[in-house]
């Protein structure tokens, strides 16, 4: 059991997770933001490690990744930075990024480094499920790192069952098939999709992400799942004046 499992088991209210990119807006921002996000009441955190070709991301996260890379962020440096993580942050933390930097770092080393600094799970959208199962699952499980899979409205029921089987923390539902940063469209179709997943009675809890930017979209997500993940809207907010001090304000604008 890791921090994620405990959170989902113990907390009954809707959960809010905040995504931001490591090393953005400044190389040293990572832990300051993480600490502030925890203090403002978020339930867990996703820290993005930047990649040069983030093909599932919209303009906001493309830009934060580019700046983070220009600032000198990379996986090695990030794990250095995160050595202080557990002195400053107690809520669950996930890393999110693309597969190529992980492959260069070495998947086993990556899982070990995650465990060493107190990371609880990872989201690597372009790591195929078959590869995970065949080659990497043991590295994740041996280090007690949860691998989080994505599901879209087009994902087949059979595949969702398989994902449920391989998951051990939560399943990440995309509000629609989209790159990050599009607004969630509250539509009958989306409702039908969320309801369909809910009716599947999966063993893992679900969270909705991509396109959550305000109270309305958060509440919609919370109606059907354990909560929501806010990414692009928060990264965009970080660009505003005195963002770090105003993080509580941002969190309240999503979940009051």
């Amino acid at each position: 059991m890791n921090r994620l499992n405990q959170l989902f088991q113990n907390k009954k209210e809707s959960l809010l997770s905040i995504y931001f990119t490591a090393g953005y807006p400044n190389l040293s921002s990572t832990l300051d933001i993480a600490e502030a996000v925890q203090k403002a009441g978020a339930d867990f955190i996703e820290i993005g490690f930047p990649y040069s070709d983030p093909l599932a991301d919209g303009p906001v996260i493309q830009n934060s990744s580019l700046i983070a890379l220009q600032n000198g962020m990379n996986l090695k440096f990030l794990f250095e930075q995160l050595k202080e993580l557990r002195e400053r942050v107690s809520i669950p933390v996930l890393l999110m990024g693309y597969v190529n930097p992980v492959l260069q770092y070495g998947v086993k080393d990556f899982c070990e480094s995650c465990a060493a600094v107190g990371v609880d799970g990872v989201i690597v959208p372009d790591l195929p499920m078959v590869e995970y199962e065949e080659f990497y699952k043991d590295d994740f499980l041996n280090n007690n790192i949860s691998n989080i899979f994505l599901v879209t409205p087009q994902t087949s029921e059979e595949r969702i069952r398989k994902i449920d089987e391989l998951s051990n923390a939560f399943i990440y539902l995309l509000s629609s098939s989209s790159t990050t940063g599009k607004n969630l469209t509250v539509s009958n179709e989306a409702d039908a999709y969320f309801a369909r997943i809910k009716a599947m009675n999966l063993k893992n809890p679900t969270m909705i992400g991509f396109g959550i930017s305000d109270q309305k979209s958060f509440n919609k997500a919370a109606e059907y799942t354990r909560g929501a993940i806010v990414g692009s809207a928060f990264v965009k907010f970080l660009d505003s004046d005195n963002a770090l001090e105003r993080i509580p304000e941002f969190i309240k604008s999503i979940r009051s």
Binding site: Y51, S52, D53, P54, L55, A56, D57, G58, Q62, L66, L69, N74, L75, K76, Y98, V99, N100, P101, V102, L103, Q104, Y105, P125, D126, L127, P128, V130, E131, F149, L150, V151, T152, Q154, T155, S156, R159, L174, S177, S178, T179, K182
Partner: protein
């Protein structure tokens, strides 16, 4: 073509898991999975259906103008002391090999019930070939092209627009082919049901590398017949082609792969020189990694960030190569060499002067390697003349002060 032959996994072909040796696979986010998986399940059944084959072959003949000639280039032969043949893909409709693939994929898209076509393009040849088949079939067409390439390949941008395509500039990264590919993939993620993505080379997630190679394999299929008619032997000593993603080379190599006495040479773009920091010579500079959905060789930093490539030739300005090429490289089935901007430009001029054929700058890289080869005098060489140089006149004019 014989379906049984092509469906059986020959030694250098893709395995049932979508790999060529250590390379390939489908490293895609879940958002792309349903489309790619559907394609994977369907592509062989669709493309070897007799009605498909009939329409494909008819279009290649009447619309593209195939078979493309195999031309004995006598003055180049005399200069280099070998028997040099040029496989004239430049004479295809739209001026390059790219249309062999887009004809195949548009017929596939129709059968998959797709209404909207997207594509990336570097030199603009694939964009033009895609816009062409979309016009032919009355399908909506959106082409992603790096801002830098829009500038250096202006005639092709105009051609795409003439045929009703929308050209969208890619403004991220180096603003070239890699970034156009990212944008096309993002478009596909955001349009998961009505859209088919026509990838322009033997790159991308499985089944694209294998599928595109099959469509391009017509190049070597014809070459074998043409050589046999001319010389009584199907096989030359050497087969050579330039490599961006690797589709003309894979088409040119395809039916020679199992004939291991045929030497295969793939020519990459060295840009300003392999060690200059301004290069696109992937096999020299690359390490194993994942880009655009497959595991292959990739120019990247120790941290796994993709390094921006450089070549004077927009079609070769790509930091990776297709997974099948990575396999042929690793297994030493083909030799991978590289040619600088300067060498390519000189070779382009030489071919124009000696043969009256102005090659695309991409193709000129393959021709330039002739300078570096030592011939005993009786070898036969087939070079894939992948495209014509009309689109590059601006660059040639500036380079040579014409």
């Amino acid at each position: 073509m014989n379906r049984e032959f092509i469906k059986s996994s020959f030694k250098w072909g893709v395995n049932p898991k979508g790999y060529f040796g250590d390379f390939g696979g489908a490293y895609i986010p879940e958002m792309l999975y349903p489309n790619v998986e559907h394609l994977r399940q369907q592509y062989l059944d669709i493309i070897y259906e007799p009605a498909f084959q009939e329409e494909f072959n008819q279009l290649l003949k009447d619309y593209v103008g195939r078979p493309s000639p195999l031309f004995h280039a006598e003055r180049l032969s005399a200069k280099y002391g070998a028997t040099i043949y040029l496989k004239r893909e430049d004479l295809n409709h739209t001026g390059a090999h790219k249309i062999n693939n887009t004809i195949g994929q548009i017929l596939l898209a129709e059968r998959l019930g797709k209404k909207r076509i997207i594509a990336e393009t570097g030199a603009g040849q694939h964009g033009v070939a895609t816009a062409t088949v979309c016009a032919l079939k009355g399908l909506e067409c959106i082409i992603y092209m790096g801002e830098v390439d829009i500038e250096r390949q202006a005639p092709n941008v105009a051609r795409m627009k003439m045929m009703g395509a929308k050209v969208v500039p890619a403004i991220s990264g180096s603003k070239t082919l890699k970034d156009a590919t990212n944008e096309a993939m993002r478009d596909w993620i955001n349009n998961p049901t009505d859209t088919h993505y026509i990838i322009g080379s033997v790159v991308g997630p499985h089944p694209y590398p294998d599928m595109v190679a099959r469509f391009q394999s017509i190049i070597s299929e014809e070459t074998k017949k043409q050589l046999f008619e001319r010389t009584g032997s199907e096989n030359p000593d050497i087969v050579m082609a330039c490599v961006g993603g690797g589709s003309n080379a894979m088409g040119m190599f395809y039916h020679f792969l199992d004939d291991e006495n045929v030497k295969l040479i793939a020519v990459e773009a060295a840009g300003l020189g392999v060690d200059s920091g301004e290069s696109a010579a992937t096999t020299s500079l690359g390490k194993e990694g994942v880009l655009h959905g497959s595991r292959s060789l990739l120019m990247q930093s120790d941290d796994g960030q993709v390094i921006e490539p450089y070549s004077i030739s927009a079609g070769l300005d790509y930091p990776g190569i297709g997974p099948q090429h990575a396999h042929l490289f690793k297994q030493h089935r083909a030799e991978y060499v590289s040619i600088t901007d300067e060498e390519a430009m000189q070779a382009g001029r030489l071919c124009s002067e000696l043969e009256g054929i102005i090659p695309a700058i991409e193709t000129a890289h393959a021709l330039a390697h002739l300078e570096k080869m030592k011939f005993k005098g009786d070898e036969s060489v087939v070079i894939c003349l992948s495209g014509r140089g009309d689109k590059d006149l601006d660059t040639y004019m500036k380079y040579f002060n014409l």
